[in-house]
């Protein structure tokens, strides 16, 4: 079977985010960009499924500008067999992303599509769910364990009350949670090999996908700065301070 993994280029998790002075978004120029950490977990899971003999091919897919090929190369260096780059310079909303994946699934006929549970830039957590709905495929989100058994997948999910185990028929959509696995380190020879692995570049119109623009970002602002605290010596002083702030009567 084939596995498609959706990956996204995001601002690296170590970078302190700066909001653009005009509030139109966050600064991404001259900022370190990386593979979304949850997508790295998704790739790792797909590779482990392939290495256990239950899949033949892992395809990494990304949507975005030319620079996103760096992240596809990372996925290829980890072990993905080939990659598809849906090239666009526009910002893509989750519904469009899901439609693009639907079109690719129609073409590639994977048995499993794995995404990270969310991208750390917009934290939407929508594309996996939307793809499942558009494809009429079952979904198992926030997976912490995935076991493939012939035509079904048994997926353990992290839910508020603990762990929930689902059985879904394949093809299915799975989204990866933090504890699903620990991604491997990439080896130097594999980085060199990855340069020779194929990346197909297609445009959104090639896929016949209609771009959705249902959401408009009005403004981006940084969180309010935290006020400095004060140290009090006694409970009485604490009570007085709280009263002064009007927090107790």
């Amino acid at each position: 079977m084939k596995i498609i993994v959706g990956v996204k280029r995001v601002v690296d998790y170590n970078v302190r985010i700066q909001v653009k002075p005009d509030g139109s978004g966050v600064v991404t120029d001259g900022v370190k960009m990386s593979l979304n950490p949850f997508d790295e977990i998704a790739i790792e899971e797909a590779l482990r499924i392939k290495e256990s003999g239950k899949a033949e091919e892992v395809i990494a897919v990304t949507i975005g500008a030319k620079a996103c090929q760096e992240q596809l190369r990372t996925a290829l260096a980890m072990g993905a067999d080939r990659a598809i780059h849906v090239e666009t310079d526009e910002g893509i909303q989750p519904l469009t992303a899901a439609r693009i994946f639907k079109a690719l699934c129609d073409k590639e006929a994977p048995k499993l599509v794995i995404f990270g549970k969310q991208a750390i830039d917009d934290d939407n957590s929508q594309t996996a769910q939307m793809l499942a709905a558009l494809s009429h495929w079952p979904q198992a989100t926030f997976a912490s364990e995935v076991v493939i058994d012939a035509d079904t997948a048994s997926v353990t999910r992290e839910v508020d009350a603990g762990l929930e185990t689902l059985s879904v028929d394949l093809p299915a959509v799975v989204s990866a949670d933090l504890r699903l696995n620990e991604p491997r380190y990439v080896k130097l020879p594999d980085i060199m090999k990855a340069k020779r692995k194929p990346i197909d570049t297609v445009s959104i119109s090639d896929l016949g996908v209609e771009v959705a623009a249902g959401i408009k970002v009005l403004k981006t602002t940084a969180p309010a700065k935290r006020q400095a605290g004060i140290m009090v010596e006694t409970v009485e002083q604490l009570v007085v301070a709280l009263k002064e702030k009007g927090l107790i009567k």
Partner: protein, 550 residues
């Protein structure tokens, strides 16, 4: 243990200006002579540029030679220097502008560019990759590998996935051997492999000890009406006393940003001195704060620089390898610039290697021709002219030394027939703490001046949590038993990232704590520790700061 290995013609350690210029020049020359050449560059930062910190005013001499049409190729040299202000700060709120004719010539910046060296390196990396160089960021060169005859065979990349206690985690990946006919070391100032090579091959025989400074830098986004793109400001004097060398810089870059920083020479003698706090209070002088008020600080970082100049340049070749850039120490202290000399010496190394290749096998060979190339290059010329600049400041202090520098550079053009030496290494200059007065540093105001931890946060520094400490103590008892009583353990103050602390343990006894995770890889501890007891080694690859446009 049997390790995997890969073979190259040339392995370059460090994707900075020196290493990348070596790589680019190698490929250019190989293409000219239609030679196949396998070159790789290994870089400990998580990406190219992540560990690059420099002022920077770039003198375009080397890049003009390397890529004559760099402008058309889109090199990020966007801001030409338009003005040069030099101030002598006389106190907290005062400073005198030095008339242009009194400024020593090497400090003039016409024709130079204000750049982010991290971005220049990213651009150089693109050029190198397009010519076929393999660049591996996120991998450290942990050890040098030697052949049985003692020559350098290549390097060993650091193991990944080792826990703090030394055990192997699930993700463990052993390091690989990268073997080369010639290995070029371009680690930058105080490279940990370079340091070992200098000892092993006696490269520092008959030269002065290297001298260093610690540069602490910030980037601010300032109000557009205060921004004067292309303006370069340098300061001498306050807050340092006349016997402590150092000074400040403030460069108006593009996009309403200014890069500013303060360099303190690491031969300072007062163990109570804190380079970080000197830098913070320096910003409160109106000559600097006038630009910053109403602005926002967006980045912070620190890096040691070598400023020994001509008298401290070691031998550059040894069997199987070469030293280039600041790993050897080509910074021109009078110009306060080392990027152009780093790039040029990298190019000289490349030319040396290609010429040697034409005469036969170069594996294990010592390519001494690099010495001649260096001595007949403009790098030697300009370092020779300015050789007495640093020692003059050291001997006579900022005012008298600066006056000498003016005479030496503007009247005699560096041709005075003598050479001064400074033979005391920087770690041996501290006076006992009891004999020195602790400066009274003001509390940070949270607007112009800040504390150390909130600063380190802006360097986006990260190290994998569970890994062995990469700051090794030869004798763990030294910090508390010797350094603390004698020098008040100066690591607490000279470290610009708050790595070193003296805390009380459960019994109330003093304990030396190393917060290796905060380390911004500046190498100051390795340089300044009076007992030379701290050794900086490479942490897991990809760890350290993540500088954007430093």
């Amino acid at each position: 243990m049997e390790r995997e290995s890969m073979e190259f013609d040339v392995v370059i350690v460090g994707a900075g200006p020196a290493g990348l210029s070596t790589a680019c020049r190698l490929m250019q020359l190989a293409q000219e002579s239609e030679q196949e050449l396998m070159v790789c560059v290994i870089e400990k930062g998580s990406e190219v540029g992540a560990h690059i910190l420099s002022g920077a005013v770039l003198e375009p001499t080397a890049i003009n030679e390397l890529f004559p049409d760099w402008k058309a190729m889109g090199a990020p040299l966007n801001t030409e220097v338009k003005g040069d202000d030099v101030y002598y700060l006389t106190g907290e709120s005062k400073g005198i502008k030095t008339p242009n004719f009194l400024v020593p010539k090497p400090m003039h910046n016409e024709g130079n560019y204000i750049v982010s060296m991290a971005n220049v390196c990213r651009w150089l990396a693109e050029q190198a990759e397009s010519m076929g160089v393999e660049i591996f960021p996120g991998f450290t060169a942990a050890e040098t590998l030697y052949n049985e005859d003692g020559s350098v065979k290549g390097i060993l990349t650091g193991d990944m996935g080792v826990a703090e206690d030394g055990s192997h985690k699930d993700s463990y990946m052993p390091g690989m051997e990268l073997l080369a006919k010639q290995t070029v070391f371009a680690e930058g100032c105080r490279g940990h492999l370079g340091k070992e090579l200098m000892q092993r091959f006696n490269l520092r025989d008959n030269v002065d000890p290297q001298h260093y400074g610690l540069g602490i830098k910030e980037i601010w986004s300032i109000e557009p009406e205060k921004h004067q793109e292309g303006l370069v400001v340098h300061t001498a004097g306050w807050p340092l006393d006349n016997h402590t060398e150092g000074g400040g810089f403030l460069y108006h870059m593009e996009n309403n940003q200014v890069a500013l920083g303060f360099i303190v020479a690491l031969n300072y003698s007062n163990p109570h001195l804190s380079p970080f706090d000197e830098m913070q209070r320096w910003k409160s002088n109106p000559k600097i704060s006038q630009y910053l008020e109403g602005g926002e600080r967006i980045a912070y970082g620190a890096r040691a620089v070598n400023k020994g100049g001509l008298q401290s340049v070691p031998k550059l070749s040894f069997p199987g390898g070469l030293l280039v850039g600041c790993d050897a120490g080509f910074l021109n202290g009078a110009k306060i610039k080392g990027n152009h000399t780093a790039m040029k010496t990298g190019m000289l190394a490349a030319e040396t290697i290609i010429e040697a290749l034409k005469t036969g096998d170069i594996a294990t060979k010592e390519l001494t021709a690099i010495e001649t190339k260096y001595r007949t290059s403009w790098v030697y010329d300009e370092l020779h002219k300015t050789r007495n600049f640093g020692p003059a400041l050291h001997k006579f202090g900022t005012l008298l030394g600066g006056s000498f520098a003016w005479l030496d550079q503007n009247i005699f053009a560096g041709k005075l027939p003598f050479t001064w030496h400074n033979t005391v290494p920087d770690h041996a200059t501290l006076k006992p703490a009891a004999d020195c007065i602790a400066p009274n540093y003001p509390k940070p105001d949270g607007k112009i001046t800040f504390d150390k931890l909130s600063s380190v946060f802006l360097s986006s520094t990260n190290h994998e949590e569970d890994q062995p400490c990469h700051l090794r103590l030869t004798d763990p008892s030294v910090p508390i038993q010797k350094n603390l009583p004698l020098y008040n353990e100066p690591a607490q103050l000279y470290c610009p990232a708050g790595v070193y602390e003296v805390i009380k343990d459960a019994e109330g006894a003093d304990k030396f704590q190393i917060n290796g995770q905060n380390c911004v890889h500046c190498k100051t501890c390795d340089i300044k520790d009076p007992a030379q007891n701290i050794t900086w080694v490479t942490p897991e690859g990809g760890g350290g700061p993540n500088y954007g446009n430093m």
